[in-house]
Symmetry: C3
Subunit: 143 residues, 3 copies
């Protein structure tokens, strides 16, 4: 069911992420440190290698894959909400190789930062809590 | 001519779109329901199949194409403005298949939602009205 | 080192960029005209041809390449900060051809606008100043 809730902007953070760190871990660490339990994320930059996932809509399992080469982050878009009581970052990204070919998917652990410029908007409002959704097999917001 | 106008943030909506619905129709329905006549949109998620368009800059016609397989929405970016008196959603998106290959284009009717997490920012300010633009053949904002 | 600073939204601009102009120059000109020294940018549209770059993480040099055909801008994401005392636009983008294939990279001069709908959010807060970063060879924010 389509359901949207009104939220409000609370704080805006802008900065960069450390060279050599895991991209998903580092974004999650920032959110934890700044006590962000609801938010939106955007970033550009580059990675030393990428690990992403594509969800199999039939088997309900993620298929993980690695692209083991330097890539530009053409765009990363994500959000922060709550799963099992903890802030969880859900991000998708588009990458590009040195010939300009683009790749995309769900950001997984194992993506190593080369450089990353990020904006995180902390939001306030009703809690967005992820729960198992039978139809898709995903943990989606219980609205 | 390059022309920008100042607008203001009015309301921020965050939520998810229904499984199985048409992606463009569903975003449009939300905007109509919330009375959003000016806004910006971002989303990530997955689709069961996609229908997009690329504009032919010579013939001034859209070429529509379908990618009939499950795909991740690596990113969707769009805006809301007025065409023929009604709110109109204009969105572009980047998709990715299970090998990580990326595809992109102008969102067309016929794209079926698997899961979609969306943020819509309702804006207020001068009306942005789309009118026929001779140079491009598109309906662009009359500034 | 990962470092984020809090910034605040100051003004929001929405509009379109001129047909036939250079995309990077035109965004930079808008920022200069509106006195935006810190900001974030998002856009969709189409280009007559694209020139992008991918950074070589070993040699520390950008490799520039041109895609000499009409393309959709599936998404452009960027920021504004200060380099050598002047506002500098840093943007990445994802493009798509008429078969839907996606390309991406760092926006370089030489990308010609067909149509472009843009939102620029002017931010205020501490200055973000780009300085040479030895580890990456890039001019990154000195935090």
């Amino acid at each position: 069911m389509t359901a949207l809730k009104e939220v409000n902007s609370r704080q805006l953070f802008m900065g960069r992420l450390a060279y050599g760190e895991d991209l998903l871990d580092e974004i999650t660490a920032v959110c934890t440190r700044e006590n962000i339990r609801l938010g939106r994320i955007e970033a550009i930059g580059a990675v030393q290698r990428a690990r992403m996932a594509c969800y199999n809509q039939k088997t309900h399992e993620y298929r993980f894959f690695t692209i083991d080469q330097p890539l530009e982050i053409a765009q990363l878009t994500g959000n922060v909400s709550i799963r099992q009581g903890q802030p969880m970052v859900h991000a998708h990204l588009t990458l590009a190789d040195d010939a300009g070919n683009a790749y995309g998917g769900h950001l997984a652990p194992g993506t190593v930062i080369f450089a990353c410029e990020i904006i995180i908007e902390a939001l306030e409002g009703p809690e967005f809590i992820r729960e198992f959704d039978e139809e898709t097999g995903l943990t989606l917001w219980h609205m």
